[in-house]
Amino acid sequence: MSDEKKLAIIATKGSLDWAYPPLILASTASALGYETEIFFTFYGLAMLKKKLNLQVSPLGNPAMPMPMPVPVIMQAMPGMQAMMSSMMKKTMKKKGVASVEELRDLCLEAEVRMVACQMTVDLFDFDTKDFIDEVEYGGAATFFEFAGKSDICLYI
């Protein structure tokens, strides 16, 4: 066992905005010399798809800054989520914020270990062929094997 510091993260959410905290922290921790593992469960599994299509929704998120006031009933209209997601991605690019793809690549390059929750994969009938090759599959006990030795453990 190495004497590197260790960071364990559980990633449970699969929207565009919620993909950032685990991937930013994991990639940065690696740059600081941490050994890092992310356990992806439930909607967090969406971050492991080869073809990422993460979306952001203003619904149920009153704090989301909007370019103009949009009544909640309008936010539920078809196409609204796709439009908001595309606007968010454009703004991020303009502001020099990394894309989720880029951050994930940086994590993989830095050898962040990515573990997918086997139970949720089965529950949602996900095809593991749709996930990136670097993914390992495991359960709660697998998570604790690493998390039990970690210096920092985050649930996101």
Binding site: I24, S27, T28, A31, L32, G33, K95, G96, V97, A98, L106
Partner: protein, 76 residues
């Protein structure tokens, strides 16, 4: 400011990209060499200080010129 061996332009990039790019660049350098990093993210001032403290690389100096920052980091 002092001499440097390598330079990295992280202008326009936001957290955590300047740090990640700097780390990647440092990996290709030799111990004792100096990397000059240009960044525009105001958050990078505190971040490069924290990066240096945690990685053991030395932050020789930080310069501010208009809306640009220059960091000089000596590799451990």
């Amino acid at each position: 400011m002092a001499d440097y061996n390598e330079e990295l332009d992280a202008s326009g990039l936001n957290c955590p990209l300047p740090i990640l790019r700097a780390k990647k660049k440092l990996n290709t350098m030799e111990s004792g060499q100096v990397l000059r990093i240009i960044a525009t993210d105001p958050g990078s001032v505190k971040d490069f200080d924290a990066f240096a403290k945690q990685t053991g690389n030395t932050l020789l100096s930080t310069e501010e010129e208009g809306d640009k920052y220059a960091f000089f980091i000596k590799k451990k």
